[in-house]
Symmetry: C2
Subunit: 347 residues, 2 copies
DNA sequence: GGCCTTTGCCAATACGTATTAACTCCGCAA
DNA sequence: TTGCGGAGTTAATACGTATTGGCAAAGGCC
């Protein structure tokens, strides 16, 4: 029951009959450290026998780096962010970094970021900082990479959000839609704003304008999409197509349509954005714009670790990651007859 | 550009004209510490002015506790575990603990747990340890709480998994199903095994046995459910109802039915388990057994923190959390006519 | 005014590791 | 013999905090 204290490098030293620094040299120092072969073997055996695990906190304290990176996401309830995290963790772990995941859960993350700072994370990856409401001052003299955000101050990793909006618009235009609505972001998430901008700009270039009543704002959740769509369906003049800034929102919108017995895509076409797994699980399947979430995370991790190890010059701006339209079942030409081209959108 | 070194308690001491221990006494020591009012004020002001943040690693090193708890989940791609984490984080943060989330991503978590150990987490919450393939030896002399697992050695927090299976079985029996299949877990996740046991036992008591070909095993993913269901549909003798150990599996099964143009619930009834948000987004909505994921996490956190602070006697076994059947659209009586009682299952 | 208690602060040390400088051997050349 | 250099090890120290014991000053008591 007596919680035996952890075995330290001193214990290993004692057992191997050497001093503690020698243990440190063998186990963590440069492999080119001058230590006799026999000694090294003795130390290794002693460490093995005692089950020695170095105390990473002590190591971080003296080395002034913890080999941990902090990751801040606004929520894990959106599978998109889970994918970003997955991509990012794979890289980080492979490079020998631990990931301290900080889940905003919708609340302000400032205090949690304070904690990360206090735990001496070497760097920070912040996803959708706008949503997190993070004061810049908090990040003073930290190494930071932003995901899906723009910034003069810190390097960023983004997808081509304008193109996402453009692809959605082009798809709807091509199908013949002119009465088009959008459910945009309620908060200041940069990527979502840019999706919106790309969408609206493309429509405008085609001579189609979105009536202000058809431009709604909703939190990026299922419920948000549901309520916004309900509002749209309640108008006397309904759009024939709706672009949602996020797949979750689109799924909510789809749900609202089903509840209201509005047929999708016959009466209303829906386009989402992200291409989360769930998008393929509904009936009909969701037409959406695929955003490479995992790759976004992986790139952010590579960039950050590069900065941490290679110096700050690694921040050569890479171009945004490409996105692509995925035609599925929730889009079709407007006022389609029940027969005809109805299945056109699905493969 | 020169990354100014962090401000330490020594800096604060210098500015306030006191010694470092005094700073420590004021800022972190017992509030009843004997410090003159004026001194305390000076220290607090100096700390404020310098923007002092204590180094939590150093503190952890000397206090031999880090006020961090490690959390291990097999994957974050299953929203169920995200909910558990959400519930758990809320409690932990409120109690002043940081959460170090360790995402298995399907791979063995042992090395990551090593890292958590090395970072001196005060305790560990491990969810679905069986899936994680975690050797017990790794956890020697750690304070651990298991979620959805049974163990003689460590305290556990569970839902009433047998009841979950029983409720599903009773529901299907009540509807009149006799040709019943199940898609069970492929790995050794205890809760899923118990769901299965409860399900099969209840059927057996009612004189219904599940033919071995109708008892399939699949990983707890959408794809797993999809493939298992495809296999079931390929048999010459099809069941009229299928219980899936997990909602994700059920969603995959539903997807497989839709793809195969098998109508749900008319031709096949489906029951899931977990009640994740997604279960309400499909058409028809998924009938399932609700498991209080968030509460599961919250309880685990409370139990662990109680053990950390109050001593090991707090582990008085609480009864498993209750589960409840949620009737929705994927269940109906077998061989139902297109009209009649078809919608009975939905509210 | 001496003695004891209380108050307020600090010197010293510990936590477990990494790193630097120094120290010991030992052989070898001058 | 002295001096020198390199190989192998260790003593000393630092990282930033918390904690213990003690020291000086202030106050209470007779």
């Amino acid at each position: 029951m007596a919680k035996r204290t952890r075995v330290t490098s001193h214990d290993v030293a004692a057992r191997a009959g050497v001093s503690q620094p020698t243990v440190s040299l063998v186990l963590s120092g440069n492999p080119r450290a001058r230590v006799a072969k026999a000694t090294r073997a003795r130390v290794l055996r002693a460490a093995e026998e005692l089950g020695y695990r170095p105390n990473l906190l002590a190591r971080a304290l003296v080395q002034q780096r913890s080999f941990a990176i902090g990751v801040v996401v606004p929520t894990l309830s959106n599978p998109f962010f889970v994918d970003v995290v997955n991509g990012l963790e794979r890289v980080a772990v492979a490079e020998g970094y631990a990931v301290l995941l900080c889940n905003g859960r919708g609340e302000p993350v400032a205090p949690q970021v304070e904690t990360l700072r206090g735990r001496m994370v070497d760097g920070l990856i912040i996803d959708a900082a706008g949503a997190a409401g993070l004061p810049e001052a908090l990040l003073a003299d930290m190494t930071v990479v932003l995901v899906e955000e723009v910034s003069e101050r810190w390097p960023t990793v983004t997808s081509d959000a304008e193109a996402a909006g453009r692809l959605a618009a082009e798809h709807l235009l091509e199908l013949g839609h002119r009465a088009v609505a959008m459910i945009g972001p309620a908060t200041d998430v940069h990527a979502l704003r840019r999706r919106e901008r790309g969408f609206l700009a493309t429509l405008r270039q085609a001579g189609v304008s979105v009536r202000s009543r058809w431009l709604r704002r909703a939190p990026a959740t299922v419920r948000g999409g549901q309520e916004a769509m309900r509002a749209l369906l309640g108008l006397d003049a309904r759009p024939t197509a709706v672009f949602c800034a996020t797949d979750l929102v689109a799924l909510g919108a789809l749900k609202a349509c089903v509840s209201a017995r509005v047929r999708v895509p016959e009466e209303v076409s829906l386009v989402g954005c992200d291409d989360i797994e769930m998008a393929r699980l509904t009936t009909p399947e969701l037409t959406t714009v695929a955003v490479p979430a995992r790759e976004l995370g992986a790139r952010a991790a590579r960039l950050l670790i590069g900065m941490l190890e290679g110096g700050p010059d690694t921040r050569g701006r890479r171009r945004p990651l490409p996105v692509s339209l995925v035609r599925r079942g929730t889009t079709a030409p407007p006022v389609a007859s029940a027969g005809g081209a109805r299945m056109e959108g699905s493969r």
